[in-house]
Homo-oligomer: 225 residues x 2
């Protein structure tokens, strides 16, 4: 089943595009600064593209980066990240292709760690290496736990949960119902119905490619069931 594969990658991309995933402290970055260099990206240009060989990871220093999967017809935005986030590291360490594309929304300054130069540097600083990878393990484990936790909830609860997490960052979620459906692995119609109910109880307002979160408390309550 091809679709399940995609869902997994969507989840993963989204998971690592979360603000709490910041495995490197500023002190760390200072130490391994010689393993990479600052790159400046104009709006609309790519940091990396899905499927390409992962020969570098990026630390966002400034601006916003959009994470998406698929191209053309099946293009789906799975998240947005700002300064402090590290992107593409899991793929780089595992020596597998990037699982998503990362594109600068506005002007972006980022620190680019090249794999070939980073590895020797990590050999010299095992402490950082250890922390980095353990952070990755943690994140991956958390994602997995999350997937299974959502597994046997109703679509309504799943949607509420997803929106609840998003609410911590912004009140406006700009995902189409189709994208949410793909992320959760459910049908678009079910998402639509769930949003309808959330709208009825006054938790959200819906618009074109836009969901405005009104009442976080109610979302949380619906998510538990």
């Amino acid at each position: 089943m091809r679709q399940a594969e995609q869902q997994h990658l969507d989840w993963l991309a989204r998971s690592f595009g979360r603000p709490e995933y910041a495995p490197l402290s500023s002190a760390d970055v200072e130490v391994i600064r010689s393993a990479g260099e600052i790159v400046a990206k104009y709006p609309g240009t790519h940091l990396f593209k899905e499927g390409a060989a992962a020969d570098a990871a990026y630390l966002v220093e400034n601006g916003e980066v959009e994470i998406y999967r698929g191209q053309g017809g099946t293009r789906r935005v799975v998240g947005r990240v700002g300064p402090g986030s590290v992107l593409g590291d899991i793929a780089m360490f595992g020596d597998t292709p990037y699982i998503s594309s990362a594109k600068a929304v506005g002007p972006v300054r980022a620190f680019r760690f090249e794999r070939a130069r980073l590895l020797p540097e990590l050999h010299r600083h095992p402490a950082i290496c250890l922390r980095w990878l353990v952070a990755g393990l943690r994140q991956l484990e958390g994602t997995q736990r999350r997937v299974i936790r959502l597994l046997h909830k109703t679509v309504l609860a799943q949607v509420a949960d997803l929106l609840f997490e998003e609410a911590e960052r912004r009140r406006d979620v700009n995902l189409s119902q189709g994208t949410i459906a793909a992320l959760l692995g459910v049908s678009r119609q079910s998402v639509n119905e769930a949003l309808g109910r959330l709208r009825e109880v006054g938790a959200v307002e819906t618009g074109y490619r836009n969901i405005r979160i009104i009442d976080v408390e109610k979302l949380a309550k619906v998510a538990e069931s």
Copy 2:
């Protein structure tokens, strides 16, 4: 939902109780031998217990180890491993409690890596450290992929898939239908019906706490759907 949590942990324990997970080469072990020592376990004794602080990882050198979760009434065996397997490492690195218990079936010789002593040693051998953690990352990612891949299959296909994997090692699977149901996160009745159909097509034979695999090809075919 408490049950989903358990399912996650069951999966994880089972996943890391697979023979293919062997992050350390014998050369690696030789190098970091000073970070631990050989321990001998009599049949029935524990290497570690679920929920305890993960201050050590184990490399099985000889004998068979049973992995299980829960105790007393809810005890579920999720797997068995032999020589070469590494146990408890993910929990140790992440500094989280063990997610499963490991008990010697027969006489077992194992190498015990104590966390406090291992970490400094890994600092001295970053290459091993890197390989080990990347192996963990890979395994975790694979597990996750597997969970999601199975997600939208019918119970019949899920059961067939699980049995198919097991068939590579032994023709007799000694799991109760209830345990399988818990692993897959489905109801016991559904598992029963699935097994019934597999029996009809001549893929397996069923007995008390026992499933004998007859035709692996048929299992594989059913698993894809």
